[in-house]
Structure formats: structure tokens, C-alpha cells
């Protein structure tokens, strides 16, 4: 059954509380939800700057996450280090194409896409970018929901380091894994602190 009545009027004056989903009247500055009493939004400038700060931190972390080894293999005293891309290449050469593609998407493309989405949303709040408001909301929703998938590689490395823990051969997580986990964390914070009221046109 479809909710047939769609209201076009004054859509931008009403906002949705992210905690309890109640509809609230938009005001300038701070808004407290009328139902759950939680602070929905701080001042718009605060939100913009916070999103930007978290995003910058995440982008900076993206480099050590990719250049430092995420996985270190110690085989009979010989140490071999693998970065994320290196690991994907090993998988590809071994013929595990689906897994290689999953990891490539989750750990290389998703973070970059998320950076681009957030930058795009931030730019579109300042300048008039031609695309509908609803598309931007959808973009924001996608950004929020795919973000945590980047953690797959970090989890895989920790699982492997538990399982491959013999005297002859050992796998240990590398510094890249920590940087990667932190990067995902800051990207998520950035998306969560983005004020959807900033989406205007």
C-alpha cells in the first residue's frame, strides 16, 4: 500500500530528527527535538567545519593506510610485507577474482567515493550545483550506509593473524591496518556530523 499523500509545501521548513524520526520545525541555529529532546543540529557553521575537519583527517590517513603494509608474513625467518594493493594483486594472480574485486571495492574505491561524496556535498552547500535536492539526500544516505564496509580488509587481516600463527609461518597485522581502521572511523564521523540542513537546492 502506498502512502499516497505527498506534501510539497514547505518541505525545507521541516526536518527529521535522526534519533527518533519525529518531524520538527526548522529554525536558525541550534534545534532541540520536540519529542526526544536531543540536540538535532548545532549551528550550521559548526557542523560544516567539523565535517571538513574529520574529512581532512580521514584523507590524510588514507596515505599511510595504503602505503604501509597491512599484512606481514613471517615465513621461516623471512619477512614479507603486503600493502592493500599488493594483497589484492596476490589474490588476483592466485585466481580468486571475486574476493579480489570485493576487497578492491571495499578498501580502495569505497573510501575514495566517500571522500568525493562528502566533498561534493560540502561544495554544493556553498555553491549552486545543478542537481536535485532529493538526489543529494540519496547520495548522503548511500555515503552513510556503505562507509563501514571498508573495514573488511582490517578484519580479514586480524582473522588471518589468529589462524596463521605457527612457528614456521606467521601472519601479523601491519601499521597500515591501524591507519586504515582510523581512516574508516574518521570518515564515518565526518558523514555523521554532516548537517543535512546544509543541503539546499
Amino acid at each position: 500500500m502506498k502512502a499516497s499523500t505527498e506534501l510539497k509545501m514547505s518541505n525545507h521548513e521541516l526536518i527529521r530528527c535522526p534519533i527518533c524520526e519525529a518531524v520538527n520545525l526548522d529554525k536558525i541555529g541550534e534545534i532541540k527535538c520536540r519529542r526526544c529532546g536531543e540536540l538535532i543540529y548545532k549551528h550550521k557553521d559548526v557542523s560544516f567545519n567539523r565535517t571538513l575537519a574529520f574529512l581532512m583527517t580521514a584523507i590524510i590517513l588514507y596515505f599511510p593506510a595504503n602505503f604501509y603494509p597491512i599484512l606481514i608474513t613471517k615465513k621461516l625467518g623471512v619477512t614479507q610485507e603486503n600493502t592493500i594493493l599488493g594483497g589484492i594483486m596476490v589474490l588476483w594472480e592466485a585466481g580468486s577474482y571475486p574476493v579480489a574485486i570485493i576487497i578492491l571495492l571495499a578498501s580502495v574505491f569505497v573510501p575514495i567515493l566517500k571522500f568525493i561524496f562528502i566533498i561534493y556535498l560540502l561544495i554544493s552547500t556553498e555553491y549552486n550545483v545543478k542537481s536535485s535536492k532529493i538526489d543529494k539526500y540519496k547520495l548522503f544516505y548511500i555515503t552513510e550506509s556503505v562507509g563501514s564496509w571498508s573495514m573488511v580488509d582490517v578484519f580479514v587481516v586480524t582473522i588471518l593473524s589468529v589462524l596463521i600463527h605457527f612457528s614456521a609461518i606467521q601472519i601479523v597485522p601491519g601499521a597500515g591496518a591501524t591507519a586504515f581502521a582510523l581512516m574508516v572511523f574518521f570518515t564515518m564521523l565526518s558523514a555523521l556530523s554532516f548537517d543535512t540542513r546544509l543541503i539546499k537546492r
Partner: protein, 212 residues
């Protein structure tokens, strides 16, 4: 109880289209006119069903966290994967920051979410302590994006594929519990609408009208 005029409206989570609520038949759902996602549903005894599901989920979670997820066998040498071993190895390697992050993302947050859901639904069922229910509703909503149990399970599958050529893999009890937990989690997330819970909250404990 004074009903707020804004309570007849609902905004789609995905595309932020504003909708006016209409009365639904029993066990039907309303879809967003613009993007087609479910915006609200009429679910009778939502509290009791969700409570039963959450209790099953927390049992599955306990099993998934305390027993063996899988055992690998490389030329007769066995190695076991369970959550305790995972944290022991991470801290042995001095990856403290990552250990703490993992502890929260795959253990503490999922557990806290389920405990808080069970607690708030139980209190709502017995119509007790409204203030606590309110805090728990807020807490649950805030914790939800930070549970990564589903991604952890995908990672287990990816690790299995990676090890396939080198080792024999035996699936443990916790692996089955994980699948059960995820299925329950999906059902709970699908039917537990915060909007509905808050409306129940208001109908049970009354509305405090601080502002109009």
C-alpha cells in the same frame, strides 16, 4: 494527551520526501512515494515480537562470541579461531588501538544495542520507568551505525576463501550462531521502527508538552 500536528507527518529516511501519514490496515506497510523504501508499517504487538527476537539474538551473540568460529588444519596442525583468541593475538602484537576499536565495533556495541533494546522493550511491556525508556531509545539510535558485526561476518567468509587452497577448514558452532544472529538482526532492524516505538512511548507514558 495533546497530539501534535507534526505527528501526522513523516519524512523518508532515504530521500527526505515529506509524507502525510494515513491509517494502515493491520500488518501492511507504507512505502515512500519517491524512492519506494518502507517509511512506516502497521505491526500489531511489535513490542512482544521484537522482544522475543532480541532475546534470541542475544543468545546467538553469546554463542558466537564464546565458541569456535572455525578450525583450520594445515598438514595435521590445527589452529582455532574464536573471539578470545582474536583479542589475545592483537594485544600480543601490541596493536592496542586496533584492539580497542575492534572490541567496540564487533563486541561491545552489538552487545550494548541488544541489551538496551531488550531492556527498553521489557520496561515498555510492563509500562515502567518512562525516563529510562527514553534514554535507552536515544542510546540505541546513537549506537546503531557503529555495530559492525555483519561486516565482521563477511570478513570471516573472505578469510575462508583466502585459506581455501592451503588448509582444510572446519566450521564451528559459533559460525552457525553468527548466521543466526545476522538473520535475527536483519529482521529486528526491518521491523523495529523508531518512529513507531516513540509513538508507543508517548501513548504509554504521555507527552510532555514543553514547546508547541
Amino acid at each position: 494527551m495533546k497530539k501534535h500536528k507534526l505527528d501526522n507527518l513523516i519524512i523518508c529516511k532515504r530521500c527526505h520526501t515529506l509524507h502525510k501519514k494515513i491509517k494502515l490496515h493491520r500488518n501492511t506497510k507504507a512505502l515512500c512515494k519517491h524512492c519506494g523504501s518502507v517509511i512506516y508499517r502497521n505491526h500489531h504487538n511489535i513490542i512482544e515480537t521484537t522482544l522475543a527476537l532480541s532475546i534470541s539474538a542475544i543468545i546467538a551473540l553469546m554463542v558466537a562470541f564464546s565458541f569456535t568460529i572455525m578450525t583450520i588444519n594445515i598438514n595435521g596442525i590445527y589452529q582455532e579461531l574464536n573471539l578470545t583468541a582474536l583479542f589475545v593475538v592483537i594485544f600480543e602484537q601490541h596493536f592496542y588501538l586496533m584492539g580497542i576499536m575492534l572490541g567496540f565495533l564487533i563486541f561491545l556495541f552489538p552487545l550494548a544495542i541488544l541489551v538496551s533494546i531488550i531492556l527498553l522493550l521489557t520496561l515498555m511491556h510492563f509500562r515502567r520507568s518512562g525516563y529510562l525508556v527514553k534514554r535507552l531509545l536515544i542510546l540505541t539510535a546513537k549506537l546503531l551505525p557503529w555495530s559492525m558485526i555483519d561486516i565482521f561476518f563477511i570478513s570471516i567468509l573472505v578469510s575462508m576463501v583466502k585459506l581455501f587452497d592451503y588448509a582444510q577448514i572446519e566450521i564451528g558452532v559459533a559460525f552457525v550462531a553468527f548466521i543466526l544472529l545476522l538473520v535475527l538482526d536483519i529482521i529486528i532492524n526491518k521491523q523495529m521502527r523508531f518512529n513507531e516505538l516513540w509513538r508507543y512511548y508517548e501513548s504509554i507514558y504521555g507527552v510532555k508538552n514543553e514547546q508547541s
